[in-house]
Structure formats: structure tokens, C-alpha cells
Symmetry: C2
Subunit: 714 residues, 2 copies
């Protein structure tokens, strides 16, 4: 009897868990199928997404590669501090260090243009798979198929942009080789900085706390979008007026509590859930460990060089930040794959699928599918070291990457626009220029040289049958260390590509007339370029083949599992739901779902990144929390944990409660949730957001940002 009781209790627990959170970054078209009211949603799914009217979705935007929300009639956008960071940095001068001090424009004429910022609003989308896939003709090689699809997509985009003046079109692959969707976006180009907390709040905890819980980061900032007086997207102008969003999201200053239903809308970047065990094994055994180790080396190098000189530290800060971010993310993923036994789990699923195929006469044509996919990843794995070295040789030493751009770009620019590589097409070339310009801000020659040397020596150590001939030529018979050393020193002493203008001149000039091959960096690139063309060819071949195979795999998996599949995240608008809940990161430890302002005081050391402002500590010490408190803990909550399904790109995503009101801003995942790119885990997949009560407390009580509070109309 008692046993039965236990079983019922266990079943109930299971039931509760199932209704409250599940895997899924759903395209908004799927929301109505999810029976969300039974899972805790208190509004209609049409209130979230209404294809024939205005809904919450219309209050969401994309800010750079991340997400944001419209929170006022006059175009106020709330997103993360780290998303607005470029704007804060760009607005700062030696006299006005808004990174350290924070920024608040009490009136519109005090706002500062967020240079280079673009806000994107999803206007419409439609399935365009047939038009894309009809580019593939019988008899084409896999490489030709992949190229035909690429070209067709470019053409369809051009056509759509012509038809919808002022909009930007993008075609996203939803299921590889199978489903393609055409998205139309409005691009707002006059974006201004309205509010940023000091870095000691907005990035409290810095790299050390990145990917970590408990977290105490006030990772939010406020921007405003402007349009021309006639309401059209426009570049910055003093005459522009605030953009009026179709939908303004409502803030609930009461926030949420443990176990509450929440949902998130945003633009998650990339996931690989629908890939095979072979893909995962390649990531686990080859690609991610190699990159994590290599990034660790680059970080150590940059930190050593930064320690001596503040100027150097500023130049290398971005590299350290992003390399650390990825390195820690990969280490987390590697741990997660091991802990969850993911490769074996997927392998077992595939075994079952194979048996299913072999037990059904009609599915015979699929019987070689998994073996073919395995073969591709075996080949990728075997060439992994070589390809990774080539990839980083091209991208990591900045001068070499400039030589690549010049060498490749000057060839591409001669082609008709539609045939060019994407970076050199007319619609993208300005962005490419901007990225070159930004790159020079962070160029530090000694680090650059050390990186090139390291990569050339790695290339020299490749096994006989994997050698790279251009590198072998550098060494041929000499001591490899001194040969590489001499080569790199000569390259940097002789190259002319050390300024933005020099690169632009070479890019748009006449390669033969300008004798760009006299430049040792370009000469090196010209010798190694064939390897990259080969890589690309092989890549296209693999891509074409995998597209076919994965499309078939999806077909047979649907038959096997009798269920629809959710497309992997691909930077398009997605919906996910879950609840406010903690988790157990390891045996005997439980992470509660809310941190509190007391925790800020606990962590504060006075030294970056744990340098909370004295004023804030004073406010915490005073213990007088009038509003914005969590009733059961009687203090102001800071960050929160919830079991939604997010990934990179969801930065800045609004967190909604069951009523569809905004209760927080998503900005990170817990360490155990770095695994989200490969699998969602009931036990570990927790996202991290800043609680709206902390946002409001900082705005109102810390920064006295009255004009913003007023505009929010709470």
C-alpha cells in the first residue's frame, strides 16, 4: 500500500515536471499547438503570436546578434548591458567614462548615438523550401548541389528585397536540405543610448562569474530607436523622431516567484539537437578540446602581455573576453556531454532507429543512411587538426586575416555581385569595412606575431600525410623554430597592411598595378590560398551530402518517433517556456532560483570585477527596501534561474510571466546549461536573467532615472 502511495507521488512529481518545462525553441507558428494554458499560461496563445494581428511578438526585436524588447510608445528598448556595451564604449571619452560611471540621459537631447547599432524587427515569414530546393537538378555533384542552393538563396533574397522596398530579406535553413523560410525584417538604423548602469553593476562578476550561478550581475541597458519624421527607417539625424513600436511590452514590477510559469521570446543563435552521435563525437573528441586548449593558450599569452602595460591590456581585452567566453563554454559542454553520457545516448537512439529501419521492408532505402553520415564525420575527424590550424591561421593573426581579405576580396570584387562571396556583396561590403576598422583598434603586433608563430609551428608538427605545403616551404630542412621565427619577423617587418587605409587601398586597388604581391603577408596568403579553396570545395561537397542525408534522416525519424521535430535554432524568432526553478549542480548542492542584493555585498572585494559601487553597498546596508522586494525573502532579488530552453542570441530576451508581462531580461545560462547547444537537460538546463525588480530598483533608487521610470508608465 505504502509502495503504491510512493508510486503515485513519484508519478505526480513527474507529471508536474512535464507540464512545467520541456525542450524546445519553438518557431512562433507552433505556439498554438502547445496547450500552454494547461501548463500555466494565463493568456491566450494568440496574445503571444497572432499571425493576423498585433501580439507580444511585435514587441520583440533583434539588437545586433542578440534580442531586445520595446518598453515604451517612444521606442525605448531594454536589452543587456553586454549587448549595449559597444554603444557605451563608443559614447565614452577620456572625460566621460560611461563604462565606469554608467550613463543616463534625463532628456532625449542628451542621448548619444549608438554607432553601428541596428535593430531588426521580424515583419513576416513564409516557407520557401520549394523555390530553394528546385535549384537542385539531377546529375549534380554534392558540391554543385550546395552551390546551386547558395546561389538560389541569394537570388530569392534579392528578389524579395526588390519587392519590399526598405525591408531586408533573409532565408533561413530550418531543417538542413529540407525546409527554408524567407524572413522580412525592418532595420532601424538610428539607435541611441539612453541608460547604462556602471560596469560595476552591469558586468559585476565579469569573466569570473560568466556562465556561473549564483550570479549578481545587473546586465541591462536601455536604448531608443528613431526613425525619420515620416516614420521610415533612417540613418541618424537630429530631425528623427522616436520609433513607435506596434506593441509595447508591459512590465510587472511585482516580478515572479519560485515555480512560476515563464516564457521567453528571442533570437537564439545555433543549436545542433537534430544532429547525429557522429557529429557530437567529433565535437567532443576533436573540435572542442582542440579549440578550448588553443584559446587557453591565446588567453594566457594575452594576459601575460596585458599584465605589463595598460595600453596593451586595452587592445587585448576583447580577445581575452571572447576567447574566455568560448573556452569556458566549451569546457562546460565537454563536461556536460561526459556527465550526461550524450554520445552514448544518441548512439543508442540511432541503434534503435537502425533496427526500426531494418524491420520495415519499405524503409530499406534508409538502411545505409547512418553509416554514410558516420563516414563523413570519420573523414572530418581525421582531418580535424589540419583544418582547424588552417582556419585559425586565416582568422587569428590579424595581419594575415587582412592579407586574406585583400587577396580574396580584390578577386571577388571583380565578379558580378550575385556571384561574390557573401562578405563582398554590395549589400554587405560596408559591414566588412566596419569590421576591418574595428579590428585595427585591437591590433597589437607582438601578440599577433606570437600567434602566427604558434600556428605555423602547430602546422609543422602535423603528420606527414597532413602537411601544409606553404608551411613546409618555410621550414624545408631548417630548424623549425628559427625558420618560423625568421619568417614571421620578416613578414611583419615587410608588410604594408598595418593600417585601415592601407588595407582599403589594397582591397579596392589594382592588385597587379599596385604590385600587392610584393607584400610578404599577401605573398604568404597567395601561396596558401589554394588550400582554402580546397577546404571550401570539400566543405561544399560535405554540406551537399549531409543536407541530403539529414533530410532523409528527418523523414525516417518522423516515421520512427511518430512526432514532429523542432528545427534547430538558427537566429530566427523562437518561443520557449519553463518555470522559475533552481537545480542541483552536483551531489548535495542546491542552487536556489533567486540571488539577492545581500549576495552582492558578500561577493564585493572592492576590486574589479567585484567592485560594486559604494553607494549600492550603502543602500544594501541600510536594509530599507521599500519596493521591488521579494515578499518571502524580504529583500530585493538580483538575478534568477529558470528552466526555459535558450542559447546564445537569447541575450537580452524578455522573460514573461504567465500574464505575458515582462519580469526580467535573460542574459546567460548556468554552467551546466552550456550543453543546451547539443541537448536540453531537465536537470541542468537553466537560463539566467536579471530580475525586473533589480532593474527598477537600480533605475529608481540607485540612478534616480526619473524620466525613464515615468516613461515606463508602471
Amino acid at each position: 500500500m505504502k509502495k503504491i502511495k510512493y508510486m503515485i507521488a513519484a508519478a505526480l512529481v513527474l507529471f508536474i515536471i512535464q507540464v512545467y518545462a520541456e525542450e524546445g525553441m519553438y518557431p512562433v507558428s507552433e505556439i498554438s499547438k502547445l496547450d500552454l494554458q494547461n501548463k500555466g499560461l494565463k493568456i491566450s496563445s494568440l496574445d503571444i503570436y497572432n499571425p493576423n494581428g498585433i501580439s507580444i511578438v511585435n514587441g520583440i526585436c533583434k539588437v545586433g546578434g542578440a534580442s531586445g524588447s520595446f518598453i515604451s510608445e517612444k521606442g525605448l528598448i531594454i536589452t543587456n548591458h553586454h549587448v549595449a556595451y559597444g554603444a557605451i564604449q563608443g559614447a565614452s571619452t577620456p572625460e566621460h567614462d560611461y563604462i565606469s560611471q554608467g550613463f543616463y540621459a534625463p532628456a532625449r537631447d542628451k542621448e548619444i548615438p549608438a554607432k553601428g547599432y541596428v535593430v531588426r524587427i521580424t515583419e513576416s515569414y513564409r516557407d520557401i523550401s520549394k523555390e530553394v530546393l528546385s535549384a537542385v537538378k539531377p546529375g549534380m555533384t554534392f558540391q554543385e548541389q550546395a552551390e546551386a542552393i547558395d546561389k538560389r538563396i541569394k537570388k530569392l533574397v534579392k528578389k524579395a528585397e526588390k519587392k519590399h522596398k526598405g525591408k531586408r530579406a533573409e532565408i533561413s535553413e530550418m531543417f538542413p536540405g529540407k525546409t527554408y523560410v524567407l524572413f522580412l525584417y525592418t532595420y532601424l538604423r538610428d539607435i541611441r543610448l539612453v541608460y547604462a548602469p556602471p560596469r560595476s553593476i552591469g558586468n559585476f562578476g565579469g569573466e569570473i562569474d560568466n556562465w556561473m550561478w549564483p550570479r549578481h550581475t545587473g546586465d541591462f541597458s536601455i536604448l531608443r530607436a528613431y526613425v525619420s519624421p515620416d516614420g521610415k527607417p533612417a540613418e541618424y539625424s537630429g530631425d528623427n523622431i522616436p520609433f513607435k513600436p506596434k506593441k509595447v511590452l508591459k512590465i510587472d514590477p511585482a516580478g515572479v516567484k519560485e515555480n512560476d510559469f515563464v516564457f521567453i521570446l528571442g533570437y537564439p543563435g545555433r543549436t545542433y539537437r537534430n544532429r547525429t552521435s557522429y557529429f557530437l563525437e567529433y565535437q567532443y573528441k576533436y573540435r572542442m578540446p582542440w579549440i578550448a586548449d588553443y584559446y587557453q593558450w591565446e588567453i594566457d599569452l594575452a594576459e601575460k602581455m596585458s599584465a605589463k602595460d595598460r595600453g596593451v591590456a586595452i587592445k587585448l581585452a576583447t580577445k581575452i573576453k571572447w576567447r574566455s567566453n568560448t573556452m569556458k563554454n566549451y569546457r562546460g559542454k565537454l563536461e556536460g556531454i561526459k556527465r550526461l553520457n550524450l554520445v552514448d545516448k544518441k548512439r543508442n537512439e540511432e541503434k534503435a532507429l537502425q533496427e526500426f529501419i531494418e524491420n520495415h521492408e519499405k524503409l530499406k532505402k534508409y538502411s545505409g543512411l547512418l553509416a554514410e553520415i558516420k563516414e563523413i564525420y570519420t573523414e572530418i575527424s581525421e582531418n580535424s587538426d589540419r583544418e582547424l590550424i588552417l582556419r585559425y591561421l586565416r582568422s587569428s593573426p590579424f595581419i594575415v586575416s587582412m592579407a586574406f581579405t585583400v587577396y580574396e576580396g580584390s578577386k571577388e570584387l571583380k565578379k558580378p555581385d550575385i556571384e561574390r562571396k557573401s562578405a563582398y556583396m554590395n549589400r554587405n561590403i560596408k559591414r566588412t569595412e566596419k569590421s576591418i576598422e574595428r579590428g585595427f583598434n585591437n591590433f597589437y603586433e607582438p601578440a599577433d606575431k606570437a600567434i602566427l608563430k604558434k600556428l605555423l609551428l602547430k602546422a609543422a608538427d602535423l603528420p606527414e600525410n597532413k602537411k601544409i605545403s606553404a608551411v613546409e616551404k618555410i621550414i624545408k630542412g631548417k630548424d623549425k623554430t628559427s625558420a618560423v621565427n625568421d619568417f614571421v619577423e620578416n613578414l611583419y617587418a615587410g608588410t604594408n597592411l598595418k593600417s585601415f587605409n592601407a588595407v582599403l587601398k589594397a582591397l579596392y586597388g589594382n592588385p597587379l598595378k599596385d604590385k600587392i604581391f610584393n607584400d610578404p603577408a599577401i605573398l604568404f596568403v597567395s601561396q596558401i590560398y589554394e588550400e582554402y579553396e580546397n577546404l571550401e570545395k570539400i566543405g561544399k561537397e560535405r554540406e551537399g551530402k549531409l543536407d541530403k542525408l539529414l533530410a532523409s534522416l528527418l523523414d525516417v525519424k518522423k516515421k520512427f518517433k511518430k512526432t514532429a521535430f523542432i528545427p534547430d535554432a538558427n537566429g530566427t524568432l523562437r518561443f520557449t517556456y519553463g518555470r522559475i526553478e533552481g537545480y542541483s549542480p552536483r551531489d548535495a548542492v542546491f542552487y536556489k532560483p533567486f540571488t539577492t542584493v545581500q549576495g552582492i555585498k558578500e561577493k564585493t572585494t572592492g576590486k574589479f570585477p567585484f567592485d560594486a559601487p559604494e553607494k549600492l553597498i550603502g543602500m544594501i546596508n541600510s536594509g530599507r527596501f521599500k519596493s521591488f522586494i521579494q515578499p518571502d525573502i524580504k529583500t530585493v532579488p538580483v538575478d534568477m534561474l529558470y528552466s526555459t530552453d535558450t542559447t546564445g542570441g537569447n541575450s537580452g530576451s524578455p522573460i514573461f510571466n504567465a500574464q505575458g508581462n515582462l519580469v526580467g531580461i535573460n542574459f546567460d545560462r548556468a554552467y551546466g546549461a552550456t550543453i543546451n547547444d547539443f541537448a536540453w537537460s531537465r536537470d541542468y538546463s537553466r537560463s539566467i536573467g536579471v530580475d525586473i525588480r533589480y532593474v527598477l530598483w537600480i533605475l529608481k533608487d540607485f540612478s534616480k532615472a526619473e524620466s525613464i521610470i515615468k516613461e515606463l508608465n508602471l
Copy 2:
């Protein structure tokens, strides 16, 4: 209405907390006053301690400096792995590495003598304060008072041991300058090793997990005590028979669960709860930071030297282990004092006490008390660096410590026994010899030299008015680094004290005839010895003065607080109770009170100290846990947390449930509880024990130790 409900709930929570756990390492005579039945105890307090009969207390013993329990009629003792470590190490040979492999004697003739181990049983005790304090005569200086008390204690001990043949007497100061208790102990000297798990279980997690939760250490071992055939304590002999304890503790294989009442009996070493804020401030600002930094330096040195050579690593392992243990403990204490604001808290209590004194005419004589105590600690703080350097100069470089022993001992041994320093009295001299012999096992000259150099250079850097003349003589005008270097090199090249026999010969020889002053180490000691005699004089003076002041302080505090005080721990038998409960070490993190075998697997890396045996991992993976499981988590618990009040010396203490049955063995405290020596904290004071279910699972299912399981009579 709702508010009232909340208040009632809050009051109830407070109530529950208060009845379940509180500060206090009670002398067993106090147990009956604690109203334990109302706090959860299910037996009578006479079952725990019965001055006129047999009770649980009679099943407790002291093993070295730690605690143990009798668990069979035939003298089986359960204690910690780290307590029995010396015995396991001593039993090991290159052929039989019981440290790595573990040890199990399936029959009595397979047991191995635990050389040097002594087990102590408390037989009786009585207050002897009057006899001790009557040694103090009017007109004595403070130094004379302290010396008179010392001498009187020695005499009373001698008298008691004469009266109670075969027993050992000890007089313990319960309240400084106020209460003294004479304890009579039986010393069992034939102790044998019966069972030890492999180090990969018994010390799983090693130094990294030391003072940490979550913990997964199987820190237990089993010994057996023997006596002569006529039942009397005796040295090892093949004819000896197992000791029959007065009380055998009963094991409950069902263990405990969260919130259960537990109590502990054992021999906690030292606490300082009854000291003043001035004492604490001195520890916090001067003594502990100095020692933690200095130990860190010694650890770094020893680790660097160990990295190159396995032989060196073995010699230095003990130093690294104990220095790390103390260093981490001190760092934890420093953090805890800061976090709990302990100095300020005590200062405020003292302010209130001072006001109380000044408001009561009759208490006028106490009005200068706190100021006088403050003055003493001001002086101690001012001389702290100098005194610490002198102290470590004497004890840390082993050769110098040998020279001290020879120089001092050869003088002391000429005096009548009762007048000698304790280490050289007849009842202790054999122990002193043993400790010299053990010291040579760990002597590694290069480390020894580096330590002496470091300390001499520290001495050289003391401010002008604190200089040490013997060190100044070494340097006088020369470059201090090279002068110290030359001096140390010459000392080690010239000394004869590099073997146990040489030290013994010099100690018992004729100093003048043997010309021991020709030895450069002894010569150095002879030049610096006066400083130590001075230190000792000053120390006695302070001790005498503090004894008086603290005795008065206790008197007036009793009047102020209207409560009895519990004497600080001093290595005598104590009782403490609490409950099985986790805690929150920092914002948003909760530590649950049980770890599980799954956590062992989680931590296992295959490398020491996370090298759980493959067989154990296999048992965990199998998931077939038949017995010894925790019902609510359906797996075998490993370690547990509880809110009793313990400190060093409680290692090996039995943990009892409400029925007085043994449910675990205490072995450590959580990091936040390192503060216990200064204050007990409701929030942080948690002790760590190994769950009896893990002990039994390891014995039965891992080690197949059938004979032990049978003897336990579960």
C-alpha cells in the same frame, strides 16, 4: 490577520531551531541540566552519563589526540582513517602498501600492532581547584603565581598517580585561573590495526576537500585494544587478550535522516569562546594572518621541492599536510570573523558589560578589568612578529629544534624530576625521544636550510627596537642575504646532529666533556637561548595576570548575564547536540546534509586524491543497493552535516541518534565552521561525519570484511 500568521510561523521556526541546536561543548556533568528530552532525545540523560553506573560515556575513548568508540565486547574501536593513519603507515612495507590497498585482518592473529598508539579511557574526575589555587601566596608576582600553579599541578598529578597505580592523572584548567579538574585515565598501550579502507576511500578528496562540503570521504578505520591476560594495561605481547570495555556502543544500521536529533561525545581540543574581543582582534589582525602567510610559503617551498623527486615528496608530505590543514583552517577563521563581524560583536558585548559594571556601585572593583586585558593584548600585538619569528625559528627548522632539545634538555635533565620542563620529566621523556625519532623520518636538509634562511631574513627585517641580537651578530654590516646564506650553509655543514643517535648521545651526554658547544647548531642556540628564557618569563607573567583577570571577568559576566558559562574545550570529555541539517554557505546556494555514492562517481577523475577504486565505481554503477540505503534518496549516503558544536580533537567522535545508537563517525567541519574555535554560529557551524551506512556498505560489500560485520552483532 495574514501578517499575524506569518509572525506565528516565523516564531515557530525560531522555536524549532532553538530547541534543536545550540552552542555548547558541555562537560558530561552538565548533560542532566539540558532538558534534552524536550529537544529530541529519546533516552534518559543517565543513559548517556551516569556518575554511579555504566553509560554511553564508558564506550568512548581517546585515540592519540582524537576520539574513538568501543563497538564490540572484544575491544574493537572505530575511529577515523586519518586518526589511524600513523598505524596504517607503520604497518605498511614496500611489499604491503596498506595505505594504497587498505588493510583487513580476517582473524586476530593477522592484526598488526599500531606502534606508538595509546588509547585513553576517562575513569573519573573531580574538581581540584582549591588544591591548585592554594599554591598562590600573597605578595607573589604574576610570574611567580603562574609558576607556583604549574608546580602544584605537577605535584598533585604525581600524588594521584602514586595513589592510583596503573592510571595516568591529568589536571585540566576548565576556566583560566579559576577551575581545575583532576582526570584519571586508563592508558591502553597494546593497540592493533584491524581494518583500514584504501586511501582512495579513507582520504578520498585529500587536501582539496579538507574543511569542505560536499564531502565524500570514507574517513574511518578499526583498531582493537589488548590487555595482559589478567586484564591490566600492558605493552604489546602475543599473550595479551582483547580488552573488554565497560560499555559497548550499539550501531544502528538504519542511520539518521534530515532534521533528526543527534549528539556527540568526544575530546574537543581547544576553543576560545570565553576570551575577549582583544584576544580575538590579536588573532584576527596579527597572529593568524602571519601564520597563514608563513605556512603558505612553507607549503609552496615543500611542493616545489617535492615535484622533482618522489623520495623528497614522501619526506615532506607530513609537513605539507599539516601546514595546509592549519593554513586553510586559519583562512576559514579569518573569513568567518569578518563575515560574522565577530570582533565588533564581542566589543559591543563588552561595552554593555562595562556599562553594567559602572552602573553598579558594588562592582566598582571590576571597572578597570577590560582595560587591563586590552593592555596585555596591545603589548602582545606589538611584539607579535618578533615572538612568532622566534617561535618558528625554534620549531620549524628541524636541526635547530634538535639543537634546542639537546641544549635545553641536557640542562633540564640535571634538575630534580619535578622541577624539569614537562617534556624532560621521567613520565614524558620516552615520548620526547619517540617524537625526535619520528622527526628524522621527515628530515630533508635542503628544505630545512631554506626555512632557516627565510626565518633569519625575516628576523633581520624586524624594526630597530625589536631586533634579535643573535641574528644581528650573524649579519653585522654585511649584506644580509649572503651573510644569512653563509651562516646557514656553515651550520648545516658543521653540525653533528643529523641522526637520532647523535641527538640522543648529545642529550644524555656530558655537555662540557663532549664539547657540544663545538657544534655550530648548538652554538647558535646557546646564543639565542636567552631570548627564549625571556619570552618564557614574559609569557608566565602574562599568563598569571590573565588568569587573575579572566577569573574576575567570569565572575562579573555571570552577574551580568545571570547564566552559567561552559568552559572552553581543553581536550577533556565533552557532550554536544544538534540535528542533521544543511546550510547556506553563500547567497542562493544550499548545502544538503547528505552526500551520496553517486557524488563519488561525479568527483572521480582517476587521479589522486579523486581516485576512487574501480571496484567501488562498478558497485555504484550497478545501482543495486540492497541495504544501507537512505529511503528518501534510494541510494547509499556517504557523509553527513549536522549542527553540533565540535572542534579539532572531535575527530573520530561517535555520532549518536536520539536512541543513543551510533549512526556515524565525526571527522571534520565545513569551511564556515572553522570559526567554531572562536564562536558557534547557528548559520555556519556544521560538522562533517561519515554515515554509518557507508561504513557498513564498505565493510560488507566492498571489503567483504565478514569477521568484523559478525563481531559487530548488528
